[in-house]
Symmetry: C2
Subunit: 356 residues, 2 copies
């Protein structure tokens, strides 16, 4: 079974405003070890599969960003969605395309905007998951051991151990739980029986297509029409907009999970960057590109993002987020980074599209 890598790069979001904009979401920002996150996602797997077996699902409007970021990607491997329909249609499209090329292929599904270390552990887990998927026909979701009572992720309750692959345990899934309230999340973490559902999957293309046929047949029907000469631009926007987790995995009865032990972060906001990067000599976390430089005097603990020629000077401040990107500037305490959305909302209310 030859594996394909499918990278889900169609996301949008405002949590990294003003660096991320409508026209350039987080996965195109250079915040992963100095590299653009999408690039780092593929570099993490360098040599593992050839570029011919890498598919990137992205928004139609982001095609040029993907090409600039991944010049090695064959044109036919860039699946450009005419509209955002969440992950289920995107996964189905990738599986459909892969099955056309190689009906017995396996596939792993990754997000374009996660930080995962070390790469070797990550690859080993993907191989174990693919081996399990190949042997059993199961749909594999990799589960992250929770480090805190996060309320922003779905959880997987781990079921019986059904085996192991390359010394990694394979478990049945007792149930999926949507993003919980704080108290419930704390119970989950305390129980030791729950994992975060991180959106990293492995399966055979035919197995996921069978699951779509059973649980979301209209998506497959749409893809069949499109591949038979239909207009994707018309078909796609009419597909149901659903996440693959809830639309398929929670309904399928052949889901298994591999608890993994690498460091994982979905880098959900500016405040997550210190968790996935090293501080400089003064204790600041700097993300500088295009000639930006930081001059800090008695300033520490700050997350500093700068793009383009220019100096960011900090004096006597602590634990701030300071971002200079394009025509906008953001200053906020690290612990208030989630409130960046308030600024975006205010700009939307004002119709200030040039800043969005």
């Amino acid at each position: 079974m030859q594996p394909y890598v499918v990278v889900m790069a169609g996301g949008s979001g405002t949590r990294f405003w003003p660096a991320s904009r409508r026209a350039r979401p987080k996965q195109y920002l250079p915040i992963a070890r100095g590299k653009v996150m999408l690039r780092e996602t593929l570099d993490r797997l360098a040599g593992w599969v050839p570029w011919e077996r890498v598919l990137v699902v992205s928004a139609h409007s982001q095609r040029e960003l993907v090409r600039a970021c991944l010049p090695e990607l064959p044109e036919a491997n860039l699946l450009a969605e005419p509209a955002a329909r969440n992950t289920a249609p995107a996964v189905a499209w990738a599986a459909f395309e892969i099955a056309r090329r190689d009906p017995s292929a396996g596939m792993v599904v990754l997000a374009a905007d996660h930080v995962i270390e070390p790469a070797a552990s990550f690859r080993r887990s993907l191989e174990a998951g693919l081996a399990e998927a190949d042997a059993s026909g199961a749909l594999i979701t990799f589960g992250i051991r929770p480090t805190h009572a996060a309320t922003g992720y779905g959880y997987i309750e781990v079921g019986a151990r059904v085996g192991e692959r390359d010394a990694i345990a394979v478990h049945a899934v007792a149930r999926f739980v949507e993003k919980p309230e704080r108290a419930r999340a704390e119970e989950f973490v305390a129980s030791g029986r729950f994992l975060w559902n991180a959106g990293i999957f492995a399966w055979r293309a035919d197995a996921i297509l069978a699951a779509f046929r059973a649980h979301l047949p209209q998506v497959l029907a749409g893809l069949e029409r499109a591949y038979s000469g239909g207009a994707l631009a018309e078909i796609w926007p009419a597909l149901p907009s659903l996440p693959v987790d809830t639309a398929i995995l929670e309904r399928a009865n052949n889901v298994r999970t591999l608890p993994i032990d690498y460091r994982w972060s979905d880098v959900g906001s500016w405040s997550a960057l210190p968790e996935v990067s090293a501080p400089d000599a003064q204790g600041n976390f700097a993300f500088l590109s295009g000639g930006a430089r930081l001059v800090a005097h008695d300033a520490t603990g700050c997350v500093v993002y700068g793009e383009g020629e220019g100096v960011l000077a900090l004096v006597g401040v602590k634990d701030l987020v300071v971002v200079r990107a394009g025509n906008a500037l953001l200053v906020c305490p690290r612990e208030r980074a989630q409130d960046v959305k308030k600024i975006v909302e205010a700009l939307e209310r004002d119709g200030a599209r040039e800043f969005l």
Copy 2:
């Protein structure tokens, strides 16, 4: 006696970095009621003297800035210093030029970068000072009643009351005191006998020229050579670089002071701006020009300076200075604004001239 207005606009400085740069010091920044300080300095006197009797002494490198700011200023009234020689040579040049035009003229000397309110009180004090100077031949320095024990200003110890003009008392000067230590400044303020020496003067042109002849004759000699066909560019840099306060006023025996009662600030740093401007509805002090806008969410007490198209977004911060100007950005607490010089020093050490 017809009065001339002489504006000293040759200063440079780093305390408003990054808005102020070598090529554009503080007097050219729009921080006085939304106007450039030099412009506001003349607008404060609008109609008081005609432009023919306004002289601006500025650095040769700042001529275009002066012209852009004061298009009404006659070309011959812009005295462009080939090099910075502090205020004594600048005052002498202006007096020399004025005396050539009108030997009986009076003159007031003002800084280009002070905030003074209300304008009516200010003008009234200038008129009173000029009347006293005309009648007595004295050199008048206006004294500011100290509001706190400032260590950054020189002080005037007030001597005997010698009269009054337009209900403003006229005093002899007991002595001038250089910038004092904190404890001494506190004594001065407590005594009630001391005023700040603010660099605002009134005198007859012939009287100040006589004082130069007595105390700094080489400056007059240099001006005479320059006005007799000598090369100012060669003569000027060889003149002594001295402040008019210490080189002339402290030595002259005909100095008088008028204590004034208007609000005065030399706006010495970013942290001084709240004293001379009104907060917006959220309690921030915004200085925005060229399309800059501020979006504040739960942010208050901040001094925000922005130039050019762009948004400055503040979330959850308090009492910060946030400046976006050209290719540089500054973030520091208001009470640390004096440490901006540390950044400038660091950039100088790095040879980063493009930011200075």
